[in-house]
């Protein structure tokens, strides 16, 4: 395993630990948020985005390049019809099942083996995306 993959693995462990700590790995908790019964879940994305904001916006001013990478990659994407249509379809799926990609993968670690069905379906969905158009 190279150093980059090791860092990603360690960061991923924190990521998964935090998702489980916050309850996002439980579809029932996500659904109770989406049903507006418990709004606490907005602090998960908010808290994570706030911490990451400093990493993305401050650190590249101090370091020229990351110790185990070529460059600090910007996350830039132009708005397009696909971004919005995709977000609508994702929202319907999230609202039906309480699963999103990261929380579904992490949910496996909590013993929730049924989510394998959701993950298999996500692979099929991603494959179908590949069938409808090359980009």
């Amino acid at each position: 395993m190279n150093r980059q993959n090791l860092v990603v693995l360690l960061g991923g462990i924190l990521f998964g630990f935090g998702l489980a700590y916050s309850g996002m790995t439980k579809q029932e908790i996500v659904l109770s948020f989406l049903q507006l019964k418990d709004l606490g879940l907005m602090f998960v994305m908010g808290g994570a985005a706030l911490v990451t904001f400093f990493a993305i916006n401050v650190v590249p001013r101090i370091l020229k390049k990351p110790p185990f990478g070529d460059q600090f990659k910007p996350r830039k994407a132009a708005i397009s019809r696909n971004v919005i249509i995709g977000a609508v379809i994702f929202g319907i799926g999230w609202g039906i099942s309480g699963q999103c990609p990261g929380s579904a993968v992490a949910s496996l670690g909590t013993g929730n083996y049924w989510v394998l069905i959701g993950l298999a379906a996500m692979f099929i969905g991603a494959y179908l995306r590949g069938l409808i158009g090359e980009k």
Partner: protein, 153 residues
């Protein structure tokens, strides 16, 4: 509004942020999840969509990210969790249908709750902000309709 308080959510979110930040600071990579499906499919499909240079470059570290997520959640379940291992009571048809739409939608939108929601918002991307507003709004609407027609939980 907050029957369980906000602490577990906020603390969990901050831990997630530390993990994502650690990866960004040390490697320059955005630890986002939905691309994992596309890059992993590059091992199995010869289609040009999956064989793009970027997918081949990213597929190995994205696999490590996914393994990390599982290990992290497992560590939490073995230590701090008060409920231990569990399984969801959400119906399998919902996991399957929802998963299909999540997989297709996040790849069409090129981002999910972590891609648009964490990395995108943290990057002050207006594209991601638009995507977040749309998928949150649609998800809230959908979850309430599902509940309204009597499908629980």
């Amino acid at each position: 509004m907050f029957p369980l308080g906000i602490e577990p959510y906020l603390i969990g979110g901050i831990i997630v942020g530390i993990g994502v930040s650690l990866i960004y600071i040390l490697t320059g990579l955005h630890a986002t999840q939905s691309s994992f499906f596309t890059t992993t499919l590059s091992w199995f499909s010869k289609r040009r969509h999956f064989q793009k240079e970027r997918n081949l470059q990213e597929r190995s570290w994205r696999l490590f990210l996914a393994i990390g997520l599982v290990i992290g959640a497992l560590l939490y379940t073995l230590t701090f969790s008060t409920t231990g291992f569990w399984t969801t009571s959400v119906q399998l048809w919902r996991l399957a249908l929802g998963g299909l739409l999540v997989g297709f939608g996040t790849r069409l939108s090129e981002g999910c709750t972590s891609g648009h929601g964490i990395s995108g918002l943290a990057s002050l991307s207006t594209t991601s902000l638009s995507a977040v507003i749309v998928f949150m709004g649609v998800a809230i609407l959908t979850a309430n309709i599902v509940q309204l027609v009597g499908v629980l939980p």
